[in-house]
């Protein structure tokens, strides 16, 4: 019965998002702190080191952690203001249940957990085990990601568990796995400043991975050249040596065009290709027709930009490729990444100092979150759930019959489609806000309403939580402990800073209690996250992402350890592929030819403009946390539609006018921001906001056939000038989905 129980403005009055501007205890400088805890930011995959200041079991402030050898004390606005999520008036402190027409009422933990267990069993008895699904998150620690994957397979016994890394890292991961045999950034960040040419493809580094900016600028100070591919001139593009304003979905034109020129001019490493790779001839054949002129048509840029890119990249002594969601959020996301990576292996510049490749992982534990078995197709240690030997090994670790482990389940988008189709009747979500973050949000909301039972574990009531039958108050990152794996593949320690407030509990305790009520308590007898890590070590042993040699102590002593780390004496592996040894059984990198093909929805007469979506520096993902922090909302308060003055003139729109951005699926009404820093055929709307301000009302529910990542970066829209809306949602505060 997952329907919103009362009007949305009424729920928002009670649960926010409200803005917090003052830390616990007010602005007091003179009092001594009880302690200062070295830990990491809860937000993006950079996982910057930070120290949190504690007084009376409350986070009251922070200090930079200048010794941590990744960010060296540096932070972005989200990191600086993150402590404002502690002691927040919106914090969920008690279990709640939905009461139709009244909202949500407080219940005891026993009553809430009993009801969840009963509903899971009822739904599974009536419709089959797979009719109950789990949606989880890549902000969970490794320990929790491991636990929830095991919980789904061992306690709930459903195949249908997937995570919101599906919206983030799966295209990059799949491409890396296909080409290199390993899904991880190949190099530590310390290699970036040593590269003489850096290609950044589809990454708004300054806003989405701000700390990495310093690494790029260091490279430039060392004389390195910077090439940026993006339909928008982002803050790092402004200072690039070559900025290519590629049409969204046209990236393969640039990559194949560059490789075409490199082959033609002999800027490829034939010895390396012969010794360490397979499949180059086929790729060379494929790029033959990608002359600069042909490539330029696909990319939507002048041909000489592609030539210039090849001239910079081709003969460089050292080079580094960075890519992110800009090329990955496509129905050909994996192909985009492979075409980019082909430039790396054709040059032979990988696996040594200043030479390599990295994907810029988006979510806090985007790397570790995809290794520990919460993906629909994976078991811990990046093992394949369809591989009999992998299944057998994990069945041994879990002490369950191999046949009891379900097979491959549905990934996030098909999973929501199965909910819409009535095939999945029950849902547990943790750390996932699909009504804001999945594409085609109107469809997602309609799907949620069809659930017979929905339980939501979270620390704030997200917009998806509005649909919940039961809400279980979980823990913030700083209220629990464990490890995450950062953008470099470095496993780091998150320390517990304070206790969860009220009756809120550490997420893992909630999951273990549910497992016990489902009759599998014996497999979930953990007394601490450390015990989960010890089991995870064994589960990952011999896998691709091998953590076996790590202990929490070793991780702390070394300021993080890079996987694979197969033995307690092993120093970890900061740089992969040294000596040209790749992760496939044949030890080689596999070239895979890629042909450009159109995106799922191209602009046409009816919907003539390209919409692309993305982030702004002061907000994170669906905004559940950052839309509750005053300073961050002040910095960027409501979504705007960026458009070029030429397009604005055609549409008779002035800066600040309200516009309706509309696709075949839905629309938003937001203010126009007229800027010259975007392609005239493209508009941009950031996606952090809910309801009538959700860019995902517009986006298309098309996914990559391999990675199943949604195509957030291109769909067809039309844009019209409208009057300011004054309905009940528009009148909400901006952080809740209103407009001003």
């Amino acid at each position: 019965m997952a329907k919103i129980p009362i009007d949305i403005p009424e729920i928002i009055k009670l649960f926010g998002p409200h803005l917090n501007r003052v830390p616990s205890g007010g602005w007091v400088a003179s009092e001594e702190d009880d302690k200062m805890v070295k830990t990491h930011c809860c937000f993006c995959g950079q996982q910057c080191g930070i120290q949190l200041r504690v007084r009376n079991n409350k986070v009251v402030g922070w200090e930079p952690w200048e010794d941590f050898p990744f960010n060296f004390g540096k932070l972005c606005p989200k990191g600086v203001k993150r402590y404002m999520q502690d002691e927040h008036p919106d914090r969920l402190k008690f279990p709640l249940q939905r009461v139709d027409g009244k909202g949500f009422e407080r219940v005891s933990w026993d009553a809430a957990l009993d009801r969840v267990a009963t509903e899971i069993r009822r739904i599974q008895a009536a419709y089959g085990n797979n009719a109950f699904a789990l949606l989880t998150g890549a902000s969970l620690t490794n320990e929790k990601a491991y636990l929830i994957g095991k919980f789904a397979r061992v306690a709930v016994r459903t195949a249908n568990i997937d995570y919101n890394g599906r919206l983030c890292m799966v295209s990059a991961g799949a491409a890396s796995k296909k080409v290199f045999g390993i899904d991880r950034s190949a190099n530590p960040w310390s290699d970036i400043p040593k590269a003489k040419v850096i290609l950044v493809a589809g990454a708004n580094v300054a806003e989405c991975a701000p700390i990495t900016t310093d690494y790029l600028w260091q490279a430039r100070e060392n004389g390195g050249k910077l090439i940026i591919l993006d339909p928008r001139l982002t803050p790092i593009a402004r200072n690039a040596d070559l900025y290519i304003p590629v049409r969204s979905g046209g990236d393969i034109g640039v990559f194949n065009g560059m490789l075409h020129i490199m082959v033609e001019r002999g800027w490829i490493d034939r010895d390396f290709i012969a010794e360490h790779t397979t499949g180059f001839d086929q790729v060379a054949d494929t790029v033959k027709k990608y002359t600069p002129e042909f490539a330029a048509k696909i990319a939507g840029v002048p041909a000489d930009m592609i030539v210039r890119a090849a001239e910079l990249w081709g003969p460089a002594p050292t080079s580094f490729l960075l890519h992110a969601r800009g090329i990955e959020h496509h129905s050909k996301g994996v192909e985009n990444c492979m075409a980019a990576i082909n430039l790396v292996i054709a040059s032979g510049r990988i696996g040594r100092e200043g030479c390599g490749y990295a994907m810029i992982t988006g979510q806090g534990n985007g790397q570790g979150g995809r290794e520990q078995g919460q993906k629909c197709d994976q078991l811990p240690g990046s093992r394949d759930i369809s591989n009999p030997e992998h299944r057998k090994y994990i069945a041994g670790v879990w002490d369950v019959p191999e046949e009891s482990i379900p097979g491959k389940g549905l990934s996030a988008v098909p999973l929501i489609e199965a909910v819409h189709d009535g095939k999945i009747k029950g849902l547990l979500s943790i750390c996932f806000n699909p009504s804001v973050s999945l594409p085609d949000a109107n469809f997602v909301r309609a799907a949620l309403e069809k659930l017979e039972f929905y339980v939501n574990i979270d620390f704030f009531l997200s917009e998806t939580g509005h649909y919940a039958d039961v809400i279980l108050p979980g823990s913030l990152m700083e209220e629990d402990e464990g490890t995450t794996t950062n953008v470099e593949g470095r496993v780091i320690r998150h320390r517990k800073v304070v206790d969860p407030p009220g009756e809120a509990r550490e997420d893992w305790k909630i999951v273990c209690d549910l497992a016990q009520r489902l009759g599998h308590g014996d497999k979930f007898n953990y007394r601490s996250p450390r015990e989960m890590f010890e089991e995870l070590r064994i589960a990952s042993k011999g896998g691709v992402s091998d953590y076996y040699g790590m202990t929490w102590e070793r991780i702390e002593e070394n300021n993080g350890l890079f996987w694979p780390c197969p033995q307690p004496s092993h120093p970890g592996t900061p740089r992969l592929y040294e000596g040209g040894k790749f992760g496939h059984p044949d030890g080689k990198a596999h070239f895979i030819p890629v042909e450009w093909r159109p995106s799922a929805e191209m602009p046409d007469e009816e919907y003539p403009i390209i919409l692309t979506t993305g982030r702004v520096v002061s907000h994170f993902l669906s905004g559940t946390q950052t839309r509750r922090i005053g300073g961050l909302v002040d910095q960027y308060s409501q979504p705007q539609c960026e458009m070029h003055p030429r397009l604005a003139e055609q549409l008779r729109v002035h800066d600040g006018d309200f516009v309706k951005v509309e696709s075949r699926r839905g629309s938003v009404v937001v203010r126009a921001q007229v800027v010259k820093t975007i392609r005239p055929d493209t508009v941009f709307v950031p996606y952090h906001w809910p309801l009538d301000r959700s860019a995902n009302n517009i986006t298309i529910r098309a996914i990559d056939p391999v990675s199943n990542i949604p195509e957030f970066k291109i769909c067809a829209v039309r844009v019209t000038r409208v009057e300011q809306p004054h309905d009940a949602i528009a009148e909400l505060e901006v952080q809740a989905g209103g407009v001003r």
Binding site: P64, E66, N71, G73, K74, L75, C76, G79, V80, A206, P210, I211, T213, D214, W217, Q218, R220, E221, G223, R232, L233, T234, P235, A237, R238, Y243, P245, G300, V301, P302, A303, D304, H644, P645, R646, D655, Q673, V674, V675, K676, T677, I678, R679, P680
Partner: protein, 175 residues
């Protein structure tokens, strides 16, 4: 107490953080009728002293860098004091510690020389007025002084002359 200026969002994504430059001879202090603005022996210009500040905003109007801000709620001028509580005990100012791009940095002359292509200068000219500051800016090697003519102060045209960041013009650019 530093502020971030967006130069002209329509034309560019450029931003500029403005910290107090800590003038050797701070004009804000010289024009203060209440003698509320003091410079420490190590050359750091402080916020106004609460018992003395009369909120007249002379300092706000006189500073060529636009640094001091009058705070209505507390009827007092506040400005960047190089995080004196931190920098006086050997720590870096907070802005230079957390700046994710190194645009703001707190380092020795040797470190700057080693890590940057440009050079650091602290000499300014506003019209006929010469100003030397404790804070340096990094400029191309051939520049010796930042020289801002009065005509620029009275009104810099909103649009950049060649429109270097107009994506439409880039796409049209022929060989």
């Amino acid at each position: 107490m530093i502020h971030l200026e967006v130069i002209e969002r329509r034309d560019s994504v450029q931003t500029a953080p403005q910290v107090c430059m800590h003038c050797e001879d701070p004009i804000c202090a010289r024009v203060c009728p209440a003698d509320a603005i003091k410079k420490t022996l190590d050359g750091v210009v402080q916020s106004s002293l609460k018992p003395r500040c009369i909120g007249c905003s002379n300092c706000v109007l006189s500073c060529p860098f636009g640094v001091p801000k009058y705070q209505v709620e507390i009827d007092q001028m506040m400005k960047c004091d190089m995080c004196y509580d931190r920098s006086s005990v050997g720590k870096k100012p907070m802005c230079a510690t957390v700046c994710p791009s190194g645009a703001l940095t707190y380092a020795t002359a040797e470190e700057i020389q080693r890590t940057r292509r440009g050079i650091a200068i602290n000499s300014w000219k506003f019209g006929d007025e010469e100003v030397r500051t404790k804070v340096f800016v990094i400029v191309p090697r051939e520049v010796e002084q930042v020289n801002i003519k009065l005509v620029q102060i009275s009104g810099t045209p909103a649009a950049l002359h060649q429109d270097p960041y107009d994506v439409a013009l880039m796409l049209e650019a022929a060989k």
